[in-house]
Amino acid sequence: MTEALQFEFMQHALLAGILASVICGIMGTLVVVNRIVFLSGGIAHAAYGGIGLSCYFGWPYLPGTIGFSLVAATLMAAVSLKAKHRADTIIGVIWALGMAFGIILIDLTPGYNVDLMSYLFGSILTVPGSDLLIMIVMGGVMTGLVAYYYKELLALSYDEEFAQIRGVPVRKLYFGLIGMLAVTVVLVIQVVGLILVIALLTIPPYIVEKHAKSMAQMMVGSSFLGAVFTVAGLWFSYRYNLTSGASIIMVSGVAFLISLLMEKTASQSRKGERSS
């Protein structure tokens, strides 16, 4: 790994991976405790519609995609508030439609070809310095917002009714959370790809949740764990010449399985103690 770090692209990849881990660690904690993993998946996929739209009309990529994702995310958030029991279906529909819409628009764009694989898996090995800067700024803004609204977000996530009674503007806060999620997801996707974003949003927070005693602890722990997965994945990818994004996800997936097994044996040994 040390010799790999001589290459600038490897340094960038490492930095991008760690930044993505921190951003996804913080947002992923909120996603997992609020049980909006499916909604996040919906946002991430529907965002492809925004890419198609930007290509077709020749808009600049980022504003077009972020705008489209914000609309799709708001729609999904509204549905999940209004018709809770139907939310998963509607989100699934928007998820599929957004993706199909994007692909057709790209088909219709003459002489333009966006690689779907790079959208799915990203290209962490070719991250330019400007993208790193965007991620640093965004990570900073997001951390600031989450810190500022921490108590309200905690109350919303833990007990929405109680938060509402205490005067927390829960609806505004929920839409704000989803909006922030949409922006984060789009920005991180263009760097590390959709699949890695979903993995980093869910796996580290899930593993850490059982051991964390506060949401802040869970955010820090998830960021750290995500960074460990990213570094280990990049090492595997470099050492064995594998796709980087997929390697990171495989490392995370194995850790996820190990944590499940450990949890199971722990609960069994607890049961054993009780019955003896």
Partner: protein, 269 residues
């Protein structure tokens, strides 16, 4: 606030859910310092009534005033202990942090709980005999212990009114007696409305009873009538109560006949 003004005033309240009427023509006036048991069959609208008073639901018709104000305005002065808070037992939060949630003030987003807030929160847990569990994750506590934490959280908001939805559903009989004794003590400063199934247990502690079954009948005394039992159980009161009452050795007044004139909900003098 004028001490003679009722704390809760509800007039001609109606609420329906997906077109099905849940509550209709509800009138209720709860005086300050009252301790009301809200009883009635499942699906009769008890929890809905609490949520309407809290301003979590909006009525289709009618008027609700809490301390002379709309529920939305008054809700910060109401302590609410929900039936069961969270399905996610892994949620990363400790008992003391749940109680500290009571200090949330949307006008002061940066403010973190002060040392005195922490002391008060610990004192509230102590009062509920939960101080030893303050640092434990909420999911690792038993359902009854969790209930106590939620009550502590409601208490630190210094409520004028305390609403509880089935607070003893997961507490054993001995625990229930202790619990209601505690509520009786709290009732010295706080008006309490408690939704309960345990009609026979609760009747020893409360000052009045509200039977909710789509409509509402308020009884300004803690007496149990055959009609209340009928409202509670889908059988006739005669079938249920004699056995229960003899077995529990409850006071004789329990079987007092229901006086029809109190049906309009206004307290008789």
């Amino acid at each position: 606030m004028d001490p003679n003004q009722p704390l809760i005033e509800i007039s001609d309240l109606a609420f329906s859910y997906n077109g099905d009427p849940v509550l209709q023509g509800v009138n209720l006036s709860v005086r300050q310092g009252d301790f009301v048991a809200v009883i009635g069959p499942n699906g009769g609208g008890k929890s809905t009534l609490l949520k309407l008073i809290l301003g979590l639901l909006k009525p289709d018709r009618g008027r609700i005033r809490v301390a002379g104000e709309s529920p939305q305005k008054a809700s910060p002065s109401i302590g609410y202990v929900p039936q069961d808070v969270h399905i996610n037992s892994q949620f990363p939060i400790t008992a003391i942090d749940v109680v500290l949630m009571g200090y949330i003030d949307p006008k002061k987003p940066w403010a973190r709980p002060s040392a005195s807030d922490r002391r008060d929160a610990m004192a509230a847990l102590e009062r509920l005999e939960m101080a030893a569990h303050a640092g434990k994750k909420i999911g690792n506590l038993s359902a009854g212990q969790r209930q106590r934490v939620f009550i502590a959280r409601a208490l630190v908001t210094r409520p004028r009114l305390l609403l509880m939805d089935e607070p003893t559903a997961s507490i054993d009989t001995k625990g229930q007696a202790d619990f209601y004794t505690l509520l009786k003590e709290l009732n010295r400063d706080i008006t309490i409305l408690v939704v309960s199934h345990d009609l026979l247990v609760i009747s020893r502690y409360v000052k009045s009873v509200a039977c909710v079954n789509r409509d509402l009948h308020y009884h300004d005394q803690a007496e149990i009538t055959g009609e209340m039992l009928e409202a509670m159980y889908p059988r006739t009161g005669e079938e249920v109560c004699p056995v229960e009452l003899v077995a529990h050795g409850l006071p004789h007044r329990v079987l007092m006949d229901h006086e029809k004139k109190r049906h309009d909900g206004s307290p008789s003098v």
